[in-house]
């Protein structure tokens, strides 16, 4: 498993599922629909991503299209880490 995916999965398990590995959804399941992340939870996720991967997430990027499944999160982090932080602010 690629490290980013493993790290995000572990964060979801620790932070939102409080260790209940069996409740971890598949990579493509909606975290909102599964009731795992709510509107406050997404702020926790954003803080984690920014601190862990040294990225800056713009308000316009705070959308389910980027953040609502483990796969989307992984792809989002890959995209963000591939570009300089300053361009994400401008986007």
């Amino acid at each position: 498993m690629p490290p980013i995916e493993a790290e995000i999965r572990q964060f979801v398990i620790d932070n939102f599922l409080f260790g209940a590995v069996d409740k971890l959804p598949s990579n493509d399941d909606s975290l909102l629909e599964q009731g795992i992340i709510d509107s406050t939870g997404v702020l926790e996720m954003v803080t984690f991503l920014e601190q862990k991967y040294g990225i800056v997430i713009d308000e316009s990027e705070l959308a389910p299209a980027n953040l609502d499944s483990i796969s989307r999160l992984v792809n989002f982090v890959i995209r963000k880490t591939a570009q300089p932080a300053i361009s994400s602010r401008a986007s």
């Binding site: 409080f18 260790g19 209940a20 709510d38 509107s39 406050t40 702020l43 926790e44």
Partner: protein, 647 residues
């Protein structure tokens, strides 16, 4: 205001005085002024008195003239002056000036229907010697508590559960279905307690016990079936002011000084202003402030104080203060709670008591019946949005909700909209308004241990609530439905009990609630919804009434729901350490496993998150407080608890 308890033996054996004394001793905090006992064959009553009306003559238990009726009473009948006159005209003779004697004579006069004549807050028991019948009654809204249980040899009742648990034959098994409901509705549904076999007499109900048979009857309920859609705004405001003035006037009846709780919001400011019209004294007001600025309303309180010229005192509340009093708070709530909000009320009543006051008026009830809560607004926006689900603008109205909650305000719109998203089937759900709150709270059940989850099985609090809904409920408008849900569950189960009676009476302070005068409440049930909330302007008519009395700065300020800091009160995030030893002890995996209600590993992760200062959401805050308060309850009230053993 007082504490009561009593026993009726089925085997005709006299009740042991020691048992009776032990029961009343548990609620001495409710009535430190005097203790009284009555023993009459199979029945025995006890009473702990807080002297407020007829200080010298109102001792209890009290009998009627010929000793055929005895009463032990906690509360106030505010219209006792008028009822006394009626009873005297009907030939009854009074020996005291108390409202207690009015209860006795009105019972003699009208029997069990007497309660329909009372305007007040009460929990009482009458022993009818001739009929060998016990009659219990509780006020319409559940302001005063009353619990009962069957024992192997009879029946027992009391103001607080701890008095019943003082009887060795009463069990302490936890009712897991109630626990499940606490972690859904914030409290068990009316009638339930955390202890199996112990019941609460529901608000608006009476109970008779005769020939070993218990019969519970409802004498009053909220009914929104008769809305007057043609009600005019100015006539409505005029009628409301008149009712509110009278409700306040009769709640100032007291032989000891009456103070006021002042939050800084519209409701308590209005009540305080109205008392000025009926009192020659400079009003005395009391408030709670917070070190944490996001919860503090002291600036608004001082605006009201300056305007009304009250003599004011406030207590400042820190995280550490909440942590320090929390075990005592749970000893009084006798149920888990999901927020710490009752704790500052404990500190407030402590200060009121220190100042020599026994009675306070408060603004409780206005939000429920005048349409003040954000949950009503939330339901309205969700309905509006559902009419055009593709709209991008309609969900932006959700920003208007909870304006004082910084964390919620910083949520991305897309996520806020997703959270409040409506499924098609929800539109016809009778609990539409409350689904987001209950669904969110229910997620905390993920912390229950596997044993608890399996024991609860298919029990469903919503199904139980659905079965209790009045027949006409489905014909009411959505606003009335959400008001009913708020007023019949959260109001008695949490606000008037855990945050109300229990916190005030822990320090021998009686709360009085003009907005809960049943004449006023019945009037609001006839008001059309648009006069309660005009578009998204909450408490519309009440604000109009207030314009005659209060300055615009108080009326126009946006509503700030009363809250207190939660997890931060127990964990210092700067050090990651608990603020008191009991927090570590009770959240330790060993203690979690000992009581068996929660999953130790999941709780461990939650505590770790709290220590790192990563708890930022309501859900985690509620989980932390809910688990800690449940552990405190178990520790103090069940045999497995170390504090129970120490006591």
């Amino acid at each position: 205001m007082c504490g009561i308890s009593g026993v009726v033996q089925f085997d005709d054996e006299p009740v042991s005085h020691d048992c009776l004394a032990a029961m009343i001793d548990c609620v001495r905090h409710r009535g430190p002024d005097a203790i009284g006992y009555l023993s009459d064959g199979p029945a025995a009553f006890a009473h702990a008195r807080l002297s407020i009306i007829d200080v010298s003559g109102g001792l209890q238990p009290m009998s009627n003239e010929d000793g055929s009726l005895w009463v032990t009473f906690n509360g106030e009948i505010f219209n006792y002056v008028e009822l006394r006159r009626e009873l005297i005209a009907a030939g009854y003779r009074f020996r005291t000036q108390s409202d207690t004697e009015v209860i006795l004579h009105m019972y003699a006069h009208l029997g069990e229907q007497c309660v329909e004549r009372f305007n007040g807050e009460w929990a009482f028991a009458i022993w009818d010697k001739r009929a060998r019948q016990l009659f219990l009654s509780r006020d319409r809204f559940g302001i005063r508590p009353l619990f009962y249980t069957r024992t192997p040899h009879g029946f027992a009742f009391a103001s607080e559960i701890k008095s019943l648990l003082a009887l060795p034959e009463v069990g302490r098994d936890v009712d897991l279905e109630t626990l499940d409901q606490v972690f859904t509705f914030w409290s068990g549904l009316p009638g339930r307690t955390m202890f199996r076999g112990i019941q609460e007499l529901q608000p608006g109900h009476s109970l008779t016990l005769r020939d070993r048979k218990i019969e519970v009857q409802r004498y009053w309920t909220l009914d929104y079936s008769s809305v007057n859609h043609g009600m005019r705004e100015d006539a409505c405001a005029e009628a409301m002011l008149e009712l509110l003035q009278d409700a306040t006037r009769i709640r100032l009846r007291s032989d000891v000084p009456v103070g006021m709780y002042l939050s800084g919001g519209l409701d308590s400011s209005l009540i305080t202003a109205l008392t000025l019209r009926h009192s020659h004294h400079r009003p005395r007001t009391f408030s709670v402030n917070f070190d944490d600025a996001q919860f503090d309303e002291s600036a608004h309180q001082m605006t009201v104080v300056r305007f009304l010229g009250t003599e004011h005192e406030s207590v400042r509340c820190s995280y550490q203060d909440i942590c320090n009093v929390f075990p005592e708070v749970i000893r009084h709530t006798e149920t888990p709670i999901l927020r710490t909000a009752p704790a500052p009320f404990y500190l407030l009543s402590q200060m009121v008591h220190r100042n020599g006051y026994k009675v306070v008026l408060t603004g409780e009830g206005a939000d429920e019946f005048m349409g003040g809560y954000d949950i009503f607004k939330e339901a309205k926006i969700r309905r509006f949005w559902s009419a055009n689900p593709a709209s991008r603008l309609r969900p932006l109205l959700l920003r208007r909700l909870y304006p004082h909650m910084q964390r919620l305000q910083s949520q991305p719109d897309a996520y806020r909209a997703a959270f409040f998203h409506i499924d098609a089937q929800e539109l016809s759900d009778e609990f539409f308004s409350h689904l987001p709150r209950w669904n969110l709270t229910s997620k905390l059940k993920a912390f229950f241990s596997a044993d608890v989850q399996s024991a609860i099985g298919g029990a469903d609090g919503r199904l139980e609530l659905r079965q209790r809904l009045p027949e006409s409920y489905r014909s009411w408008d959505i606003f009335a439905q959400s008001q009913f849900l708020e007023a019949s569950a959260l109001l008695p189960g949490y606000l008037l009990s855990s945050q109300g009676d229990r916190m005030a009476m822990a320090n021998a302070v009686e709360g009085r609630f003009p907005f809960l005068d049943h004449r006023l409440v019945e009037f609001t049930t006839r008001m059309p919804a648009h006069l309660k909330m005009k578009v998204l302007n909450e408490k519309y008519i009440l604000k109009r009434v207030a314009r005659l009395i209060l300055p615009p700065s108080i009326i126009k300020r946006s509503k700030q729901p009363y809250r207190a800091p939660d997890t931060h009160s127990f964990i210092d995030v700067t050090t990651g350490k608990a603020r008191a030893a009991y927090v570590d002890e009770l959240l330790d995996p060993g203690a979690i496993r000992r009581f068996g209600l929660f999953d130790a590993a999941a709780v461990g992760k939650l505590v770790e998150k709290a220590r790192k200062g990563l708890i930022v959401g309501i859900k985690d805050d509620m989980a932390f407080v809910g688990i800690l308060s449940t552990q405190l309850l178990m520790d103090q009230f069940t045999q497995k608890g170390e504090r129970y053993a120490a006591n």
